[in-house]
């Protein structure tokens, strides 16, 4: 199915991306929780969501979505549209509720998102030693995701396998969002060596009281405000664990949390 057909089926407005309307897509993810899209989204997916903030576009960029469709007449603000233009991600808006949009698309036999990604594009791993430090500010939701998007670009330019780039971007994004949501500030260091990508993030914040509980899917201490932003469903740390080859978490309550993550460059196809 093409985006053009989707536009006509959902009677959608094209807010950006007219020139991509002939592009085909194969599957749809319907969610208001960005961690859910990060966990299950595959490249080329169309994201249906009622969440019109910039995080929906960051997420689309990280999972390499074909387009974002806002339901129930929602539209992103100017900042969101600018980000979509910058990242070249088509954004559409339909007046239908999510349920009906799913019903109409499903009836035209679009597949749901499969739980495992199996698109492995071939590319040469041509990485050299590289390191970069990002400062992340707690509570700054409008800038949230920018370090991860930049990390993704850097890894791509280094010629890292796209499957690995995607895993690293998801890990970085979930970790970055944790700082934005819970901590005062943090520092994320991305290092690329010939064998692996290493992400080390240290934040100054409340720490995690019960790490074992926090690693369980569904456990969250998020406020309602955070939940309404599409995060805080208790999928962040499990998402990191799922995509990392090594994940060490150390924390001191009242001081902060340190994430040490390794993704090996020869570990494609792990997830």
């Amino acid at each position: 199915m093409t985006l053009k057909e989707l536009v006509s089926l959902l009677e959608a407005d094209v807010l950006f991306g007219e020139r991509h309307l002939d592009d085909e897509f194969r599957c749809v993810s319907a969610s208001d929780l960005m961690s859910d899209v990060l966990a299950f989204g595959v490249p080329g997916v169309v994201i249906l969501t009622g969440l019109p903030n910039t995080q929906s576009i960051c997420t689309a960029d990280i999972v390499e979505a074909k387009a974002v469709v806002y339901v129930r007449g929602k539209r992103p603000d100017r900042e969101g549209i600018l980000l979509a233009q910058e990242r070249d991600i088509p954004i559409l808006s339909t007046k239908f509720f999510m349920y009906k949009a799913c019903g109409l698309l499903y009836s035209r036999s679009i597949e749901g998102v499969e739980k495992t990604s199996n698109e492995y594009a071939d590319s040469m791993v041509n990485s050299r030693n590289f390191s970069r430090v990002f400062k992340i500010k707690g509570g700054n939701f409008s800038k949230a995701g920018s370090a991860s998007i930049e990390t993704k670009e850097i890894l791509r330019e280094l010629g890292v396998d796209p499957v690995i780039v995607r895993r690293a971007a998801i890990v970085a994004y979930e970790a970055e969002m944790n700082v934005v949501m819970y901590a005062d500030n943090g520092e994320m260091v991305i290092t690329v060596n010939p064998d692996a990508i290493r992400i080390r993030l240290q934040d100054q914040g409340p720490g995690i009281k019960d790490i074992d509980a926090a690693m369980q899917e569904g456990f969250s201490t998020a406020s309602d405000e955070i939940r309404e932003m599409g995060f805080g469903a208790g999928m962040g740390l499990p998402n990191i664990k799922k995509n990392a080859d090594v994940f060490e978490l150390t924390t001191t309550v009242g001081k902060g949390t340190c994430y040490k993550i390794v993704i090996y460059l020869d570990s494609r196809g792990r997830t």
Partner: protein, 112 residues
């Protein structure tokens, strides 16, 4: 169409222990934002979500929803299902995605 019939036709797994009532399902509401569900869902809607937080029960009660379908294999804590039984809220589960189960429910209800 009744909830019991939908549970059977869609192959949903019943996570609460009370018998599924013959409530009439008026349609689906697919959403993970609680405030949106409070604002826009209709009486008798079957709520499709990944949210397993205890707060979903209050929303389902408040809006007189027919039940809650948890997608992607998500399962609530035992404390949540226990409370759901006390409050008479049906919680169902599926390994399918929100998109698939919404699509199937839509086709079933609209006889497509």
């Amino acid at each position: 169409m009744t909830l019991a019939e939908i549970v059977e036709r869609l192959g949903l797994c019943v996570l609460t222990s009370k018998k599924i009532r013959d409530t009439d399902v008026t349609g689906g509401y697919t959403c993970d934002l609680l405030s949106d569900v409070i604002a826009n869902s209709k009486v008798g809607n079957l709520w499709i979500t990944v949210q397993i937080h205890e707060n979903v029960l209050a929303v389902a009660k408040l809006k007189d929803l027919a039940g809650i379908v948890l997608v992607n294999g998500r399962r609530p804590d035992e404390s949540v299902t226990r409370k759901a039984d006390e409050e008479n809220v049906a919680i169902l589960g599926t390994d399918e995605s929100a998109f698939e189960i919404s699509g199937r429910l839509y086709r079933l209800i609209n006889k497509m």
